[in-house]
């Protein structure tokens, strides 16, 4: 029993933080947002190549470095602290997890190396709802036509859709079964409509599939238990996003504490007033809870059985979402008037937290699912 980072994991955390503090200060992000051009090609090549972030959680046989989701989670937390605007979560996290858990072996061997090297940028186009995110509800259809598949449907708010080279897409076949497809970005009929996101650090696009013809090999599942395996991929993605949310929450707390120590009103730093102290204390509780949950989530994604991962992901999703929301909201309050200015960075964190809260399913929906999965029948033992 050792619920803490190993020495190597601690070193990865420190190295990642050092890199981002130096290479991605707040001004970098701000300029990118204001140019409406957040994707930094050179930086992407550096983090994929020299730093190997996109290959961390991918097996060596599949072109990666053979670490676990824990290591990717550590990197994502640091990225969350800096609101790094690159599709690491989307490609090396959610899409890689989906390929590992749902795709057949040949597809994994063919596709994962591209993710690991960063040459390909994958994003998951599963959700179709404009209200409550779901990976399993699907009305997009995939009709067989000779040797091809023809896909029709719409996917809502695909993260980094405009920059992706490949989409993972769910669609129901003629028998109504959920299937998994891979589609290259420039496939005819695939329309990527970028829309204006409130969180400008994470662009997104709606995807319209209008009779998109794909080769037979584009269907990459192996036809067994797709829904439960996709649910498992969703749980892994949830745990990874939770790590990002911890970074967002903790950085907001740090900024608030720094400000509270400097800002003087009524002849004393505002951090000496109990109201401010108590807000910060409550934020720390949230951050610590979120950290415990997120670490448990990525540990379970790497090492636990199905039932434990399902519960761990629910815990991580709820705890981290609540923490990121509460901490960024409270951070604005603590900063007072400047917290509402464009010029101060805190609004970027607030908007990221807001988007992350619902990205993979709302906390309310998760709690309802938790009740259904774990609490609605009597237990037999502690």
């Amino acid at each position: 029993m050792h619920f803490d980072l190993s020495e190597d994991q601690g070193e990865l955390q420190r190295a990642t933080r050092r890199f981002l503090v130096e290479k991605y200060p707040g001004e970098t992000l701000r300029r990118a947002v204001e140019r409406d051009d957040v994707f930094d090609e050179a930086l992407w090549r550096q983090v994929c190549g020299e730093l190997a972030w996109t290959g961390l959680a991918i097996a060596e046989d599949d072109g990666g470095y053979g670490f676990s989701w824990i290591e990717l989670g550590i990197v994502l937390e640091e990225c969350g602290r800096h609101l790094l605007a690159l599709p690491i979560f989307e490609s090396a996290g959610a899409a890689a997890a989906t390929l590992q858990l749902v795709a057949h072996e040949d597809a994994r061997k063919n596709l994962l190396p591209g993710i690991a090297s960063g040459e390909a940028i994958y994003t998951c186009a599963f959700n179709e709802s404009s209200r409550e995110a779901s990976w399993l509800s699907c009305e997009t259809r995939a009709r067989r036509q000779g040797e091809s598949w023809v896909l029709s449907g719409e996917k809502y708010a695909v993260s980094w859709g405009h920059a992706a080279t490949h989409f993972l897409v769910t669609a129901r076949d003629d028998a109504g079964a959920l299937r998994l497809f891979v589609a290259e970005a420039d496939t005819p009929g695939l329309e990527v409509e970028r829309f204006a996101t409130m969180d400008r650090t994470r662009p997104a696009a709606h995807l319209k599939l209008q009779d998109v013809r794909l080769p037979q090999a584009a269907c990459i599942d192996d036809q067994t238990n797709i829904e439960s395996r996709l649910a498992r991929a969703h749980q892994v993605a949830t745990a990874l996003l939770a790590c990002e949310q911890v970074g967002v929450a903790e950085r907001s707390l740090e900024m608030s504490v720094e400000y509270a120590k400097e800002r003087v009103q009524f002849g004393r730093p505002i951090g000496s007033f109990q109201a401010i102290k108590h807000k910060c204390a409550d934020m720390l509780v949230q951050v610590e809870c979120a950290r415990s949950s997120a670490w448990y989530g990525v540990w379970a994604a790497s090492a636990a059985g199905e039932a434990e991962l399902r519960e761990a992901a629910a815990i991580a999703g709820v705890s981290a979402s609540e923490a990121a929301w509460a901490c960024t909201a409270e951070a604005i309050q603590i900063h007072g008037g400047i917290g509402i200015t464009w010029e101060h960075d805190i609004h970027f964190y607030f908007k990221r937290a807001r988007a992350d809260e619902l990205a993979l399913g709302s906390p309310a929906a998760r709690r309802e699912a938790y009740f259904r999965d774990h609490l609605s029948t009597p237990h037999t033992g502690v």
């Binding site: 029993m1 803490d4 951090g271 000496s272 401010i276 609490l375 502690v382």
Partner: protein, 392 residues
Amino acid sequence: MDLGFSPEDEAFRQEVRDWLESSLDRSEFKMLRGRGGPGDEHSFYAERRAWEAHMAEHRWTCVGWPEAYGGRGLSLHQEVIFNEEYARAAAPGRLNHIGETLAGPTIIAFGTEEQKQRFLPGIVSTRELWCQGYSEPNAGSDLANVQTLAEREGDQWVINGQKVWTSLAHWSDWAFVVCRTSREKPRHKGLSYLLVPMQQEGVEIRPIEQITGTAEFNEVFFDNATTDASNIVGEVDGGWKIAMATLAFERGASTLGQQLSFEIELREITRIANENGAADDPAIRQRLASAWIGLRVMRLNALRLLSATRGGEMPRSAMISKLYWATWHRELGKLAMDVLGLQAEEGCFEDGKPALNGLQRMFLFSRSDTIYAGSNQIQRNIIAERGLGLPK
């Protein structure tokens, strides 16, 4: 990073579980399951005394203490396992807990050899029970304001003053008492940590009736009470450091046992909600899910705390512990009442007198969770100042 327990630990868990189950199945201890806990400390005194002796006979008291002092020298993980199994079996609240978890460890860490030899065996055997003399009517959150005076007269300390909120005082043989030993030195600089025999003429104990209608706590009046001059832990006027160390011992392995108790309560409340229709209300379902998730997080925080490298600084996961569990438990009390609905009002009769059922007791007593052992407000001040470095 690894959240599993080793095969040796799991074997130990089974050993503890088997012993507890077979012991609690005995006719003289059967009635004690689920009794004697917070809000219920007054119940089954004689039977629980016998239970303590039974545990001592089989060397299940002071399990985390070094073997040289009568313990089993268990590792932190094994102590956690022992506490978890104890709670899982709903074994009775421990009359010996203040000696085992507070007085004993303090004496082990700071006491003289003579003090260790005099006092530790009595705790291990459970023949001597202890209580804690800290709070006073004017020294609650502000413990440094202690006014109970101890003056040296010959080879004795003579003590005058009053303590309040003293659990189990009426059954205790000894108390560790924070006293003022210097009138000149201010506040915490003039305090000493004395060990005082409770069964003496100069000590008067008066119960405090709580909102539960029962009296777990007491006022303790010292009227020229005495203790031997050697019964001081640490230096004269150096007692504040010892007193704070005792408080630090309160955190740790026992918290995981407490969480098992919480789980048993929450399981019961969930069962009721499923049976009486409360779970048809989506708002109740949200709150139940929140409570379970919150409890899981509580356990994860505790496991992370136990795994944290032991430096000089208290890790943040330790600082938040009390604030978190107390708030969680207080909310659980309200949830229990809301799940029961109107029926939450219905108590029972004991010896012809109105009494509370378990969930009502928990609900009322949980209002004190956020007050005792450092109120929520004090906890937040400490977290902000010591954990985050915000200015005083």
